[in-house]
C-alpha cells in the first residue's frame, strides 16, 4: 500500500531524512519510534505533503501512485489521513461545518454527490459515541479553546468519519492522560480492519500497550536503524534510546 | 503673556544666542540649529488643532514670561537634595541647576566610557556629536525643532564598544526659587556602541514655586547587541511642566527597556519614538501614571518596525483622581516587508475622580502580513467584587482601594530591574495613595 524508497528530505537546507525505506501493507499497524529530533514528524509531514519540506531524493508510492506529485488535498482524497501533533485552531469555523466541507470535497473529488445532511449527522453522532465525546463539540469552533486531550480526540473523531486507507498518528499519545489515551486507543482499535493501515509515530512505548503494532521501527538521525516486532518496543522502553545510540556508535 | 509673544521672544533670543557663539556659527551643527529655528518660526507652538496635540493644550503653560538664558551655578546643598537621588547606591551623576551644569554635584567619568555634558562633548568629541546630532529626533515636531535650535547643554553618554557601565547614570535637572520662571531646554545625546550596556535614570525637579517649563529632547542610538535601560521619574511640583521627546534607534540584536513614571507635575507630555533598524531587536515600553487634581499627562509612543523579526512590548497604565486628565496615543507601525514582527500594546486606565477624564487612541498601521500585532485598551474602575472581598476580610475601604491600585502600579514598577529604584517607586506610590504597607517587595 505505502512504499517509501530511499527518502531524503530537508528543510531550509537542513537534511532531516537521510534515506528512509518503509513498506506498509493493507491491514498492518506500524509503529515508528525514536528520540526527539530524529525526524519522526518530518516523515509524517512529507507523507502528507507539507510544502516547507523538500524531497531531495527517493520516492513514495501510495496504492501504486506517485504520492509526491500530488497536492496535500489530493493525497487526502486518495485516502491518507494525518492526525496532527499540534492540531491548529480555526476561530469561527464550527466542527460540523468543517467536517461537512472536508467530506463533501473528498466525495466531489471522487465524482460523488454530497453526503445527505441527515446521514452525515447520524454518522457524526455514531463517531462521537465511539470517542465518548459530547454533542456540544459539533458546534464549537475548530480546536479553539480545546484542551490538549480534546484536540487529539477530535483528530481521531475526524479519522473515524473520513475513513482513510492509511492513517498516520503523529504523537497522538503525547500530552494525554491515561483516560484520554485509553479512549483514543480504543477508537483506533475499533477502526482497525484488514483494509486499513496505521502508522503510529510516538516517543513513548505507552501507546503500544493499547494499540498493538505488527512492526516497530526505530528512527534515528533520519534513518530507520532497526526494525522488529512489538518486543522491540519493550526493549526500547527498558533500555532507553541511549542503548540504540551506543550500539550505533560501536558500529 | 501670549503664545505669540513667547514665540517672538524666542526668535530674538535665538539671535542673542547666535551672537554669543562666536566662531561656531559657521559649523554644520549650527546650520541645523538655524534651520530648526526657521522651522519653528514657520510652525509656531502646537495647538489642539494639530492631530498630535488634540487632547493636550499647551496654552496654560505658554502664558508665562519665561527666562530663556540661564545664570551660573546656584549653590545647592547636597543634603537638601539628597532625597531626589537614589542615594543608597553609587551612581554616575550629571546634575544641572537652572539649566547650568553643576560640577559640584556631578560625578562624571571618562574612564572606558564617557559620562559628561553635551556642551563638553561639543568641545571634545565633535566627531561623535556631528555624527549623531539631530539624526534621530523628529524635527517635524515644532517642540523638537525649538529644542534643536537652542541645543547646547544636556547629558552626554557614550558607551564604547563592549563597555559595561560599572554603575547606573543619574541625570537630574534642578530649578530653584531664585531662578524665577524658567524655560529649560536640555538636549541629551546617548550612544551605546556595539555590545555595551548602561542603565539611566532621569528626573526634573523644581525646588521653587515659580512656573518652570522644560522642553527636553533625547536622542539615543543603540548599536548591535547593546542593551539600554532608561527610567524617567516625573514627580515634579505642580508648577512645573515638561514636554519630553525621546527618539531611540535600535540596531541588530539590541535591547531597550524604557519606563516612565508620571506621578506629579502640572503637565507632562512624553513623546517616545522607537525605530528598529536592525533585525532581532527588542523593546519594552512601560508607563505608570498616577495623577490628582490639576495634573495632566500625555504619552505619545510610536514604535516603527522597519525591519523583520523585531519585538515590541508596550504597557501603559494610568490611575486618574480629582480632575486630572490622561492621554495615551500609541502608534505601532509595521512597514512593508517587516515580516515576523511581534508588537503588543496594552493601555489600562482607572478613573477615580468625578471630574477626571481619559482620552486614548491606540493605533495600528500594518503593511506586512506575517505579523502578530495586537492592542488592548480599557477604561474602568476598580473591581467592586475584589473590593468587597478585601473589605469582608476586615480591610477598611481606603486601604482596600489602595491595595488594589498598588497592585496595578506594581505591574509596571515590578518590571524595573534596578532594585533601589523599584523600592523608591513603591514608596512613592504608597505615599501618593496615602497608605503605608510596611513592606518591601
Amino acid at each position: 500500500m505505502l512504499h517509501i524508497k530511499n527518502l531524503h528530505a530537508s528543510i531550509e537546507d537542513n537534511k532531516i531524512l537521510k534515506g528512509i525505506n518503509l513498506e506498509v501493507r493493507p491491514g498492518e499497524v506500524h509503529a515508528i519510534m525514536g528520540p526527539n529530533g530524529s525526524g519522526k514528524s518530518t516523515l509524517s509531514s512529507v507523507i502528507a505533503g507539507r510544502e516547507e519540506y523538500e524531497v531531495t531524493e527517493g520516492s513514495i508510492e501510495f496504492l501504486n501512485e506517485d504520492l509526491l506529485s500530488l497536492s496535500p488535498e489530493e493525497r487526502a482524497h486518495a485516502g491518507i489521513f494525518l492526525s496532527f501533533q499540534y492540531p491548529v485552531e480555526i476561530p469561527g469555523v464550527s466542527l460540523t461545518n468543517f467536517i461537512k466541507t472536508s467530506m463533501n470535497e473528498t466525495r466531489k473529488a471522487k465524482g460523488l454527490e454530497p453526503y445527505p445532511a441527515k446521514d452525515l449527522l447520524k454518522k457524526m453522532r455514531d463517531c462521537l459515541e465511539l470517542l465518548e465525546m459530547d454533542k456540544g463539540f459539533l458546534s464549537r469552533s475548530l480546536n479553539e479553546g480545546f484542551s490538549g486531550g480534546e484536540k487529539k480526540r477530535n483528530e481521531i473523531f475526524q479519522m473515524a468519519l473520513l475513513e482513510p486507507k492509511l492513517a498516520i498518528l503523529d504523537e497522538t499519545d503525547s500530552g494525554l492522560d491515561i483516560d484520554a489515551l485509553r479512549i483514543v486507543a480504543s477508537g483506533v482499535n475499533k477502526l482497525r480492519s484488514p483494509k486499513k493501515s496505521f502508522v503510529l509515530i510516538t516517543h513513548y512505548q505507552r501507546l503500544l500497550n493499547y494499540i498493538e503494532p505488527d512492526y516497530v521501527h526505530v528512527l534515528f538521525n533520519g534513518k530507520i536503524v532497526r526494525s522488529g516486532g512489538k518486543e522491540l518496543a519493550h526493549e526500547l522502553e527498558s533500555k532507553g534510546y541511549d542503548w540504540i545510540k551506543q550500539e550505533l556508535a560501536e558500529v | 503673556m501670549s503664545v505669540e509673544l513667547l514665540a517672538d521672544k524666542l526668535s530674538s533670543s535665538f539671535i542673542v544666542f547666535e551672537n554669543e557663539l562666536n566662531g561656531e556659527t559657521k559649523t554644520d551643527l549650527h546650520r541645523i540649529r538655524r534651520e530648526s529655528m526657521e522651522l519653528f518660526e514657520k510652525k509656531g507652538f502646537p495647538s489642539i488643532r494639530h492631530e498630535d496635540w488634540k487632547y493636550t493644550s499647551l496654552k496654560p503653560v505658554l502664558k508665562h514670561d519665561y527666562k530663556v538664558f540661564h545664570k551660573g551655578d546656584q549653590a545647592l546643598d547636597f543634603s537638601d537634595i539628597k532625597k531626589f537621588f537614589i542615594h543608597d547606591i553609587d551612581t554616575h551623576k550629571i546634575v544641572f541647576v537652572n539649566g547650568v551644569y553643576s560640577s559640584w554635584l556631578s560625578e562624571t567619568t571618562h574612564q572606558g566610557y564617557d559620562v559628561c555634558t553635551f556642551s563638553a562633548a561639543l568641545r571634545r568629541h565633535r566627531d561623535v556629536t556631528d555624527r549623531y546630532f539631530s539624526k534621530a529626533a523628529d524635527n517635524s515636531s515644532a517642540m523638537v525643532a525649538l529644542n534643536t535650535a537652542f541645543a547646547q547643554e544636556g547629558a552626554y553618554i557614550r558607551m564604547t564598544k563592549g563597555a559595561s557601565a560599572i554603575k547606573p547614570v543619574e541625570i537630574i535637572h534642578f530649578t530653584t526659587e531664585e531662578a524665577g520662571s524658567l524655560l529649560n531646554q536640555p538636549r541629551n545625546l546617548i550612544v551605546l556602541e556595539e555590545g555595551s550596556d548602561v542603565q539611566i535614570i532621569e528626573r526634573h525637579q523644581s525646588l521653587g514655586s515659580k512656573p518652570v517649563f522644560t522642553n527636553s529632547v533625547s536622542e539615543i542610538f543603540v548599536h548591535a547587541n547593546a542593551s539600554l535601560e532608561l527610567y524617567r521619574v516625573q514627580n515634579d511640583a505642580n508648577t512645573a511642566s515638561i514636554v519630553d521627546h525621546t527618539s531611540i534607534q535600535q540596531h541588530r540584536d539590541s535591547r531597550v527597556r524604557t519606563a516612565v513614571f508620571s506621578l506629579g507635575g502640572k503637565l507632562m507630555r512624553n513623546d517616545l519614538n522607537i525605530a528598529f533598524l536592525g533585525e532581532n531587536a527588542e523593546a519594552h515600553l512601560d508607563g505608570l501614571t498616577l495623577l490628582d487634581d490639576g495634573q495632566h499627562a500625555d504619552h505619545h509612543t510610536r514604535v516603527d518596525h522597519r525591519v523583520p523579526h523585531c519585538n515590541s512590548f508596550e504597557m501603559y497604565k494610568g490611575i486618574y483622581d480629582g480632575n486630572s486628565k490622561g492621554v495615551f496615543n500609541g502608534q505601532i507601525m509595521v512597514r512593508p516587508h517587516a515580516q515576523k514582527t511581534n508588537a503588543f500594546q496594552q493601555n489600562n486606565n482607572i478613573i477615580l475622580g468625578e471630574k477626571a477624564s481619559v482620552d486614548t487612541k491606540p493605533q495600528l498601521e500594518i503593511f506586512a502580513d506575517d505579523v502578530k500585532c495586537s492592542h488592548g485598551c480599557t477604561v474602568g474602575q476598580l473591581d467592586d467584587e475584589a473590593l468587597f472581598y478585601l473589605r469582608s476580610r476586615g480591610i477598611p475601604e481606603h486601604e482596600a482601594k489602595a491595595l488594589l491600585l498598588y497592585a496595578i502600579g506594581d505591574e509596571v514598577i515590578g518590571k524595573v530591574r534596578l532594585k533601589e529604584l523599584r523600592n523608591r517607586l513603591h514608596k512613592l506610590m504608597a505615599k501618593k495613595l496615602n497608605v503605608d504597607f510596611q513592606m518591601e517587595i
Binding site: 502528507a48 505533503g49 497536492s71 494525518l82 492540531p87 470535497e105 | 493605533q363 500594518i366 502578530k372 477604561v379
Partner: protein, 476 residues
C-alpha cells in the same frame, strides 16, 4: 501565487448595464439644477428652500482630507445630478414593471417574485437615484407602516419629513451630507407607528446604472415608541472606467423603547484589478436612540473604489443601546476608511463594536472609530473589537480608535489584533481534503462569523458568497 493571479482576475459579477431609457439632467451643479430637480419631482416650496440652503452651506465647505484614503477629487460639475428611468407611471404590480428592469433584478440575484414568496421581504428599488418599485405597500399600510420612496413621502407625509429630515445629520454636518441635502433625488422613507413590530424585513436595492451620474439617495427611518423594524439595503453598480460618486445620507430615529436593525450589503463596483474606475462611496449614516431604544448597524462592505463611511449612534436616552457590526473587504487597489462613532450621552447606555477588516492585493483598509462617554453618561459601557486579517504583503491595515472618557463610572474595553491566514491552517484543511480556495472561504467566513450572524438569513448567504468572490485568489 498562481492561484492569486488566476482568480483575482475573476470578473465583477454585477457589472452589467441595463438598457433602460432614462431622463437625465445636464451635467453640473448650480441653483438652476437644484430647481430643476425639485420641479421634476413636483416638490413643495419648503423642500426647494431647504435644498437651496443646503447648497449655500455646501459651497462654503471644503472636501474633507483627514481620512486615510487618496483619490482624485471628483469634478462636481462633470456629474449629472438627476437620472430617472423613463417609465413615469406609478406601478401597482410587478407585471407593470419594465421587463428590462426585471431582468436587472434577476441579474442582481433578487427575483422579486421569489423574494416575495420565500421571505416576505418588502422591497423598494432605487435605480439611478429614483425609486421604481415598492412592494407589499398595501399589506404594510394595514398596520399603519409607511414604506415608500422619499419623493412620495415628501408629497404624502410632509409633516413627518419636515419634522425629521436633517435632524440627526444636519446639513452642516459635513461636505457630502451638505451636497446630498442639496441634490438628493430619492431614497426610502419608513415610519413604524407606536407599538408595531414590522412583520417583514424592509429592503431597498440601490443601483447606479447611467454613466456619468452621481447617486445621492436619502433614507429616513423613524421607529415610533416601542416599535421594531429590520431594514436592509443592497448596492450594486455596473463596470465603468470613470469613477462614479455615491454620497448618501441615512438618518434613523429610534423613539423610546424602539429598535431599528439596519443592515447593508455594499457591493458597488470596486474598479478593476489595476484600480481603474469604481465607485466613490462617501456616506453619512447616523441614528439617535431615545430612552430604552436600540439601533444596530450591520454592514458587509466589499465594493467601491474608495469608501468613507461611519454609521454612528447617538445614545441620548437612558438605557439605550448602540451596536455596530462590520466586515470590510478590500482587494486590488480598493481603499476603505470605515468605522463608527458611539456617543454616550444618557445614563446606563451600552455599545458594542465588532469590526473585521480583510485586506488583500494592494489595498488599504482602515478602521476609524470614536467611543465618547459624556460627563452625564453614568455607568456607560462599551466593548470594541477591531481585528484585521491581511492577505499578502502588498496591502495595509490601519486602526485608529479614538476613546474619550469623561465619566468615572464608564467601563470601556477595546481590543484589536492583526493576523494572517496561517500556512498551518491551510495545510490542516488541505490534509482533510479541502482545496486551498475552499479553505480560505471557510477560514474567512469563520473570522467574520460574529458579524455575518447579525444579518437576516437570506442576506447572510448572499454576503458569504460575496466575501468569497471578493477574495478569490488572494492567498498564493
Amino acid at each position: 501565487m498562481e492561484i492569486l493571479d488566476k482568480i483575482t482576475k475573476s470578473d465583477y459579477k454585477y457589472g452589467f448595464t441595463t438598457d433602460i431609457e432614462s431622463d437625465k439632467a445636464p451635467n453640473g451643479i448650480n441653483e438652476d439644477i437644484i430647481r430643476l430637480i425639485s420641479s421634476k419631482k413636483n416638490e413643495p416650496e419648503w423642500m426647494l428652500q431647504w435644498r437651496l440652503e443646503a447648497f449655500a452651506i455646501w459651497q462654503e465647505m471644503k472636501e474633507p482630507e483627514w481620512a486615510n484614503v487618496t483619490y482624485k477629487k471628483p469634478d462636481f460639475n462633470a456629474i449629472s445630478y438627476y437620472s430617472a428611468p423613463k417609465s413615469k407611471k406609478v406601478l401597482d404590480s410587478l407585471d407593470e414593471v419594465d421587463p428590462e428592469l426585471l431582468k436587472t433584478f434577476a441579474k442582481l440575484g433578487i427575483s422579486l417574485d421569489e423574494q416575495k414568496r420565500l421571505s416576505g421581504v418588502a422591497i423598494d428599488i432605487v435605480v439611478d437615484s429614483v425609486s421604481v418599485k415598492t412592494t407589499f405597500k398595501a399589506k404594510l399600510a394595514e398596520l399603519g407602516i409607511i414604506f415608500c420612496s422619499m419623493t412620495e413621502a415628501i408629497h404624502e407625509h410632509p409633516e413627518l419629513v419636515q419634522k425629521y429630515l436633517g435632524r440627526v445629520v444636519p446639513r452642516t454636518d459635513n461636505f457630502y451630507a451638505a451636497l446630498n441635502s442639496a441634490v438628493f433625488t430619492d431614497g426610502s422613507f419608513c415610519f413604524i407607528p407606536k407599538g408595531v413590530r414590522c412583520p417583514m424585513e424592509l429592503s431597498t436595492y440601490f443601483r447606479i446604472n447611467e454613466s456619468g451620474t452621481g447617486q445621492f439617495e436619502r433614507t429616513l427611518v423613524i421607529a415610533d415608541e416601542d416599535s421594531y423594524v429590520s431594514y436592509l439595503e443592497g448596492c450594486t453598480a455596473p463596470m465603468r472606467d470613470e469613477n462614479q460618486l455615491h454620497a448618501a445620507v441615512v438618518e434613523l430615529f429610534a423613539m423610546d423603547g424602539a429598535e431599528i436593525k439596519y443592515s447593508t450589503v455594499q457591493n458597488w463596483y470596486p474598479g478593476d484589478v489595476n484600480g481603474l474606475g469604481g465607485v466613490f462611496n462617501f456616506v453619512t449614516k447616523r441614528g439617535i436612540c431615545e430612552r430604552n431604544a436600540k439601533i444596530s448597524w450591520t454592514q458587509v462592505e466589499t465594493g467601491s473604489a474608495v469608501t468613507w463611511k461611519y454609521p454612528s449612534c447617538i445614545l441620548k436616552g437612558e438605557n439605550s443601546v448602540g451596536e455596530f457590526y462590520s466586515v470590510a473587504v478590500t482587494n486590488n487597489y480598493q481603499q476603505a476608511d470605515t468605522g463608527t462613532k458611539m456617543i454616550h450621552l444618557g445614563k446606563n447606555t451600552k455599545s458594542t463594536i465588532i469590526s473585521k477588516g480583510i485586506c488583500a492585493g494592494k489595498s488599504n483598509g482602515s478602521y476609524r472609530g470614536l467611543v465618547k462617554i459624556g460627563p452625564r453618561a453614568d455607568n456607560a459601557r462599551n466593548f470594541s473589537q477591531c481585528d484585521s486579517l491581511l492577505m499578502g504583503d502588498g496591502c495595509g491595515s490601519h486602526t485608529f480608535p479614538y476613546i474619550e472618557i469623561a465619566n468615572k463610572s464608564a467601563q470601556v474595553e477595546h481590543e484589536a489584533a492583526t493576523s494572517k491566514i496561517g500556512e498551518d491552517q491551510l495545510f490542516y484543511c488541505n490534509q482533510r481534503g479541502i482545496p486551498t480556495e475552499e479553505a480560505i472561504a471557510l477560514i474567512v467566513n469563520g473570522y467574520c462569523k460574529d458579524v455575518l450572524s447579525q444579518l437576516p438569513m437570506e442576506f447572510a448567504v448572499e454576503a458569504q458568497k460575496l466575501l468569497a468572490v471578493s477574495l478569490e485568489g488572494s492567498v498564493g
